[in-house]
Symmetry: D2
Subunit: 343 residues, 4 copies
Amino acid sequence: MKKADTNKLKVAICGASGYTGIELLRILAFHPGVVITAVTSEKSAGKKVLDIFPFLAQYKNLVYEPMDREKLLQKADLFFLALPHGASQEAVHYFFSKGKRVIDLSADYRITDASTYAEWYGLMHNYNDTLRKAVYGLPEIYRKKIRKARLIANPGCYPTSAILGLMPALKSRLVDLSTITIDSKSGTTGAGRKADLGVSFCEVNEGFKAYGIATHRHTPEIEQEISSLAGKKVMVNFTPHLLPVDRGILTTIYARLTTQMDTKKVLSLYTQAFAAEPFVRVLSEGTFPNIKHVRGTNTCEIGAKVNPRTNTLIIVSAIDNLVKGAAGQAVHNMNLMMGFSET
Amino acid sequence: MKKADTNKLKVAICGASGYTGIELLRILAFHPGVVITAVTSEKSAGKKVLDIFPFLAQYKNLVYEPMDREKLLQKADLFFLALPHGASQEAVHYFFSKGKRVIDLSADYRITDASTYAEWYGLMHNYNDTLRKAVYGLPEIYRKKIRKARLIANPGCYPTSAILGLMPALKSRLVDLSTITIDSKSGTTGAGRKADLGVSFCEVNEGFKAYGIATHRHTPEIEQEISSLAGKKVMVNFTPHLLPVDRGILTTIYARLTTQMDTKKVLSLYTQAFAAEPFVRVLSEGTFPNIKHVRGTNTCEIGAKVNPRTNTLIIVSAIDNLVKGAAGQAVHNMNLMMGFSET
Amino acid sequence: MKKADTNKLKVAICGASGYTGIELLRILAFHPGVVITAVTSEKSAGKKVLDIFPFLAQYKNLVYEPMDREKLLQKADLFFLALPHGASQEAVHYFFSKGKRVIDLSADYRITDASTYAEWYGLMHNYNDTLRKAVYGLPEIYRKKIRKARLIANPGCYPTSAILGLMPALKSRLVDLSTITIDSKSGTTGAGRKADLGVSFCEVNEGFKAYGIATHRHTPEIEQEISSLAGKKVMVNFTPHLLPVDRGILTTIYARLTTQMDTKKVLSLYTQAFAAEPFVRVLSEGTFPNIKHVRGTNTCEIGAKVNPRTNTLIIVSAIDNLVKGAAGQAVHNMNLMMGFSET
Amino acid sequence: MKKADTNKLKVAICGASGYTGIELLRILAFHPGVVITAVTSEKSAGKKVLDIFPFLAQYKNLVYEPMDREKLLQKADLFFLALPHGASQEAVHYFFSKGKRVIDLSADYRITDASTYAEWYGLMHNYNDTLRKAVYGLPEIYRKKIRKARLIANPGCYPTSAILGLMPALKSRLVDLSTITIDSKSGTTGAGRKADLGVSFCEVNEGFKAYGIATHRHTPEIEQEISSLAGKKVMVNFTPHLLPVDRGILTTIYARLTTQMDTKKVLSLYTQAFAAEPFVRVLSEGTFPNIKHVRGTNTCEIGAKVNPRTNTLIIVSAIDNLVKGAAGQAVHNMNLMMGFSET
């Protein structure tokens, strides 16, 4: 740590050799208020960050360490946890109960109802008191709560794109809640950094498929937040697909309008709803998002169209799954918690 | 023409330098009953096929010619027309009225109602008598008519995937017709072979976007056929997307079930419905199509899943847009018309 | 086995769940003289071929079995072995010594000098008598020997592209043998079908790198054959690179000319040299190969250019690494051995 | 222009709707010392930057204008010219002769010898006095001159990767100058942003080819600079290839060593030579560059290996063609000229 760093926030990243962890390192490299004091990785413990990821040249002296919680506790004041679901439960509780700030990028603290969590993730939640303290880290909905929180459950990538896409329509009660269909397409980094035949180049390249139809674990997360926005329990059809690209999620959402309304009116509502948001861009009529345009950014692009023949609202939203869908939003949440500039 | 070719069907391909035309050449290269006697291309007139497409080595002596209809008439008995929409109207009529067999790969003879055609394509149909003779070339529905037809309107790529995906559900009256949503994703050959910034590599690669939302011209074609299957007028939401791959269409279809029914029951209906079809493969429970698995083939793969929480049927179908979605289906239709083996 | 199959050659494929094995199945599906009677795979033993590769619909009843040599011996008369290097040594010897025909797609019988093999592969060769019986299966050089052989060492993918690219130049003594540089670029199927982070989509996609510089095991295989063509010992620079595509090898070869000579003259020599070859296509002046044009084919495309400023001959050759570089060439060799038609 | 901007350097970009121009906008968006006061584009004149490139959100009010030189002269003090070769000659001269600073990203002022320029570009150079004032903008060689220059000829993308890769070897007289072969592979943005069948997705994707063999216009630029480094006239073999990726150049260089030397020794020389360079990273033994690791960065990664069997030095260098190969290096040059921080 250089001298100038002594006033900076000390940050540790647990699980820093996956795509989300690397992206956190990349984004924080230029953050003026932060210094990374520890990174953990079971697989890569003992190795220099630079030896595995030579492009992270800013972290010349950073070495992966195994996850020794007591030791880590001394090293940092804020912890980003990019651990697998399940594994995060206890680690979050530990750091949080020791008074640290925690931003959890797993799903373990997103579902506020422990029985729903148990049903979809096949795991009991053992830290219900801590769970109740967690704030769902979508700044466009929970900015005020996030500013005061000490524990953030950072949203999933699909939910981020789906919830932002539906938010104004639900708040303004535009759509029939029993007709919501969410058809999402994600780049392959969404599957994680791993040795697996299913994500090998020759299986993914020039291919495209749906998976987890009607059973994907992001479903209850989406339903929880849109039910909350709608003021009543909502169930949706949610189908994820695997795109042969590195990064990006495009989500196409269909919902029957409750009254007749044209595209212009819908877009005007959307534009207003997000007017103050630095990271949401509502596109003008006739323009629709492309994941390429949000690549590497923390922006969510949204386009909308009414199909008058079926009186259906069609929303298309695009994010970079590793940035707005994970690491970028996590840093946004940190900025809000710490009173740093949002952008 | 070699001696052995004298008993073969003489075939001309008009518009043979686009992706569909090339694919026709590729498929027919090994067809035992056919000899290609003429290929036309305005842009490439005078050039050898081999000079532009060196991999079509079978056509050593084939030279592109301009489209001189009188001359072509002498050369062939069956005409594949892979011309732009609009341009095909008159050419089809000409060859058909001269007693030739015609397989039209444009949209000009697909829409049986001339006013619907006018509305979506912005063109009057000037050959209503000929239009009435055209048979929609989807063998899985119209095999008998195709056998006796002299004019085939070869289906569009998106409609092929959507109609086959819905066919058994509609025939068996499984779904609420007011709830059909069709979310399609197509490879870039679907946009045609052309110099255009929008399909340039750096715009498409690592990108993904929706286009033609609620306005795509394949909508009335889909609605015509599924209305016919359903026995009443149906309107649908149809959204095409552009995939960063060469070939392939994956279509994800959502429709509310009218009664409760599980996935097993639906799949059993689908399997029965397509049991005799050489080019449709219904996948077993839990397995879903990948465009990679149908690449280069004339097969339509179909998977199905019931979401019991929303009582919605979700169908996923995959085809190669250039084969089952265009040239392969055209050859299948030719085989049926001529009494050749289907496969 | 259907009745009509009783006169066909009974073929077994050992190691039939890798990319090469699948490609063999794909190519042989339409071979009129052959019936596949057994396929082996350790990982997939007990599974139907169709369950893993639904597009191989011709093999409805084929089930992967473990490699029980005694059992296999009864089932087939010709064995394709697509096993890892090293593992192939003994299996080849076994089937060959029992009087069977063998086409080995590993490297184990390509290097005629056992000590060179030991040096580059780190393995002793335990079957020198069998090794001496092996014929290097490059039909463009060894067609006559292949016709009479019972054991074929099927060439590696890089060597196929490099040797064919250099063959006429070496035979005609055009180049300075001390100046040969071979810069090859291969698609990712070349790395095999496996769970490995290095070939995962997000590592390979949008990437490009060299590997095995000056140490790749195909080096001695290339040197053996070009030394033989040149009539004296040659050493080369050989650098392979990994392309973000499924299939295809493009090899760019540089060699100083011994006399001055223009491109036209070189191309005329090349065209003559390969005039009778069904699977080599020499391109006309100013035209150069693209891996896309040979995708899925057994063709090797070759282009040539003389740089008069440096008096250097530059050859570019392209093949599909899985077809001409592996399975297609293996079937070509089988056709030669069995007296089937070559094409 | 906001108030705070009044002390900033006023910058105009001519030709700001191509890939290089966009990349300049992207990089300068966060530059603290610069304000963009004008952007030109013939095709897009009158359109907002934001309407075409919605991700360039920082430039809300920037509108493309046609290239009216008198008007532009009033607006800016430094001009980036990203115009086609030939078109740049006069524009550079105009702004330069009016006392402005100019960074030219075309080839027009790179070749110091006007007759060589005429020979390779087919154009006379009409501004020899201005040409003599131009400094070749490769900071690793000409940093001192650049600091004092008013006119920078920004290097080509291929030359940047080739010259940096060879620089230490030439300075230390390691290699036989008659044996240099440069085999380069570039992403498709290198071909520019244009409607052209040759760069359409379906032609490039899953393809790979060489082009411009022995005739590419970057050849004299490479030869000029390496001749200068070597202290005598050098001619090279240079072959560019087209990679199916957006960005990145990987260059593999071969040259015979004049004495025996191992990899370690070469790498130690290279590491020393670039020790003070912020944008060159020499990799450790056994590690080689991947274009993916330099994507979006201004870094040139270099790896080296000696092949002792042929006594040849093999260098691999990687850059992002749009950043270090164009816009990033241009900004680096601006920083040097203006005394801004280099990084």
